[in-house]
């Protein structure tokens, strides 16, 4: 009997012990889950930060709510946000981080420190550069979801359909910390009351230096990703003849005969594609062969132009330096940075049109 009683006592006391562990409970209804945050330098040392969170209404709709505060450290800002909010704001569901263009030009790595340090923020967060005022951009509601989720879906959808390269905070940091490769981020702006993903921002380390506009996303993608699919490209030739192709898959290969010297580097692109649109009458076998050649020439010319532009700015989003690093034991980052500016880079393109849709 005494044994049973003592066992019971131990059992009861054990089951109450976890209550003393001082663990803060966070009930979903009692917190604000921020979905996006934006950073903007308004003065030399002051940041303006806007956070977005969804407010779930009783009629099952979602309202977009934003809070704005100014401070010099971004965690300090969170306290200031908290002073304006009826419920604690937590960062576990952050999906998008927005940086105003001028802020991005000054460098964003210091602003990323708190995100890296915080275990509650995942690696699937999207980083975006905003060309228009981020506060205005975030405070408008664009669909029947909050703006944070809207932006996240916008970018995710475009990555999946193959319009832009794969991007998230991990890829940014990976490329930032890697030698011989520079990061890129998508850029958005507000236009006629709608959000548009209009450019890809090119970074030199963590500073925004250049941007590539919409029409050239195709080249960025086939050059940056070693394997890519789903990209589409439109070519004009002759008199009013137009064709649009769709990439079933493309492969990129670096050919570096003598790494760390001034000898030519060749990038080989192999595209397997199908035709989506053709405006000039019947598409014969001869026409297809001709089209392949035209495409090869066109893609080669524009790719070389783009790479020249990268070299002039001294940035390397394609990761040519990174490829050189894997081929040599004499890797020296400083020496490479000098070499890169003047190294001749050639692009070989081969296009293979496999299908032409369901009509001839």
């Amino acid at each position: 009997m005494r044994r049973i009683r003592s066992l019971l006592l131990i059992f009861v006391s054990i089951s109450y012990l976890p209550g003393c562990m001082n663990i803060k409970q966070r009930v979903l209804d009692d917190i604000q889950l921020a979905t996006a945050a934006s950073y903007e330098h308004i003065e030399e040392d002051t940041l303006q930060n806007t956070v977005v969170f969804p407010n779930f209404q009783t009629d099952k709709t979602v309202k977009n709510v934003t809070l704005t505060a100014k401070a010099s450290l971004s965690k300090e800002i969170r306290d200031k946000h908290s002073l304006q909010s009826d419920r604690p704001i937590v960062s576990g569901k952050i999906e998008v981080l927005l940086y105003e263009k001028k802020t991005a030009e000054k460098g964003i790595i210091n602003l990323l420190d708190t995100v890296q340090r915080d275990p509650s923020v995942g690696l699937n967060v999207y980083l975006v550069v905003a060309e228009s005022n981020p506060k205005e951009l975030l405070s408008k509601q664009y669909g029947n979801i909050d703006t944070g989720m809207f932006l996240s879906n916008l970018i995710e959808q475009n990555i999946e359909t193959g319009l832009i390269h794969k991007t998230n905070i991990h890829q940014f940091l990976y490329k930032y910390y890697s030698q011989g490769i520079d990061p890129m981020l998508p850029m958005i702006k507000q236009k006629d009351g709608k959000i548009q993903l209009h450019a890809i921002g090119l970074f030199d380390n963590d500073k925004l230096v250049d941007q590539i506009d919409e029409g050239k996303f195709f080249f960025v993608k086939i050059l940056v990703d070693s394997k890519s699919e789903n990209d589409s490209y439109e070519v004009k030739f002759g008199e009013g003849e137009k064709a649009s192709i769709f990439n079933i898959n493309s492969k990129r290969k670096f050919d570096i005969p003598k790494p760390m010297t001034n000898s030519e580097i060749t990038i080989t692109l192999k595209l397997k594609s199908s035709i989506r649109e053709y405006t000039n009458g019947k598409l014969t076998m001869g026409k297809m062969k001709e089209l392949e050649q035209i495409l090869e020439k066109d893609i080669k010319k524009k790719s070389v132009e783009l790479i020249k532009r990268f070299q002039e700015k001294g940035i390397d989003p394609i990761g040519i330096g990174n490829a050189v690093k894997t081929k040599t034991r004499q890797w020296d980052e400083k020496k490479w940075d000098e070499l890169y500016l003047s190294i001749p880079i050639n692009v070989n393109v081969s296009v293979d049109i496999l299908e032409s849709g369901i009509i001839n």
Partner: protein
């Protein structure tokens, strides 16, 4: 040799060896070895594995000769007083390794999940759990090791998620570090495999103990494979400078895992890790209890309570990253000295002592 009904099947040694090797070390070993070996760190994992495999081999050499546990071997070789002093050093080592594992795990919980957690209570609950396991005897600890490997094994499949973002060309160029850098990395890697020394205590509990070496080596091979997979994925997933910043690179790998029903995997991973940690603490603690029991001839339950009290005090008095790191460092140096200098030394001594005694016996007869 122990009584038949107290013994375990030889194949269970597989789980005993593997479960005691994989612990908190897996969560953050990358940073240490990649500091010196960079993208060649995977070679250090293999080299370290081979070295520890040799340790298992000469541990069996010693044990097979005597068919007794370490405490008795010490008594035979050095006599009662000196032998017991050496035994006591080993007992301290086992206790210390229990302390290090549990404290490092609590730190992970503190940093990743509950920053304000009351360590006093958390440690107390752990103590009750450990008491329950260890007081049940060696067979219970073995069962715990078995489940500590089998149940959480699904976790290792989640390490394949980051492959989508991995750049495996980072592994190239192969071998661009000096022999010196590689040996430093190998030394650091060996720490990940420590813990196998408990075999010296549970050897008499194994049926057909001589045949169990095969299982011990296989268990060790599984550990090496897991470490190898994780390091290769990490080299691809992180860049070198990035990994230098990650204290728990393996846990950070989980930050990219996203499944339809769970947004983030770390929390599931860290809580499942308790099952992996438990045999890691219980086995050395059982070894320490058994050792003290043999030296002082007292009741094992009293010793266990005393050891748990020391463990508990250590839990609540060690605070902060620096101190935990320092403890880890001491403990690993201690372990390396014991496994790589003391054990070969005692194996050789035992060879000569036994040879001489046999000769004496032959002369007398």
């Amino acid at each position: 040799m122990e009584k038949k009904e107290l013994q375990i099947s030889p194949f269970l040694v597989f789980f005993l060896i593997h479960s005691v090797q994989v612990g908190v070390g897996v969560l953050g070993f990358q940073r240490v070895i990649m500091k010196s070996a960079g993208n060649d760190a995977w070679m250090a994992v293999i080299a370290g594995g081979i070295m520890v495999s040799a340790v298992i081999w000469y541990m069996y050499l010693l044990l097979n000769r005597h068919q007794k546990n370490l405490i008795d071997i010490h008594k035979i070789l050095f006599g009662k007083w000196i032998g017991n002093t050496f035994s006591f050093i080993w007992i301290c080592y086992w206790l210390l390794s229990g302390i290090v594992v549990l404290r490092s795990y609590i730190e992970v919980v503190e940093v990743w999940v509950f920053p304000t957690i009351n360590i006093f209570m958390f440690a107390l609950i752990f103590m009750i759990l450990i008491y329950y396991c260890v007081s049940g005897g060696f067979r219970i600890v073995t069962g715990l090791s078995f489940f500590g490997v089998v149940i959480p094994f699904y976790i290792f499949f989640t390490f394949f998620f980051p492959i989508e973002y991995a750049h495996f060309q980072n592994l190239l160029p192969v071998w661009n570090h000096t022999i010196k850098e590689m040996s430093v990395a190998t030394k650091d890697m060996v720490l990940g495999y420590l813990g196998i020394s408990t075999l010296l205590m549970y050897y008499p509990y194994i049926k057909q103990a001589k045949k169990s070496q095969k299982w011990a080596q296989l268990g060790h091979l599984l550990t090496v494979t897991i470490y190898l997979i994780i390091i290769i994925i990490s080299i691809g997933f992180y860049s070198e400078e990035q990994i230098a910043k990650e204290i728990w690179a393996t846990l950070s790998l989980w930050k990219i895992v996203k499944m339809p029903f769970v947004e983030r995997f770390e929390y599931i991973g860290i809580t499942s890790w308790v099952i992996i940690i438990l045999p890691n603490i219980c086995l050395p603690l059982w070894a320490a209890t058994k050792g003290i029991q043999q030296i002082f001839n007292t009741k094992p339950k009293k010793i266990l309570i005393m050891l748990l009290f020391i463990l508990f005090c250590a839990m609540i008095s060690i605070r902060g990253r620096d101190n935990i790191n320092l403890l880890n460092e001491y403990m690993s140096k201690f372990g390396i000295i014991l496994l790589f200098t003391y054990l070969p030394f005692i194996t050789i001594i035992s060879f000569f002592v036994m040879k001489r005694r046999r000769e004496k016996l032959e002369k007398n007869s």
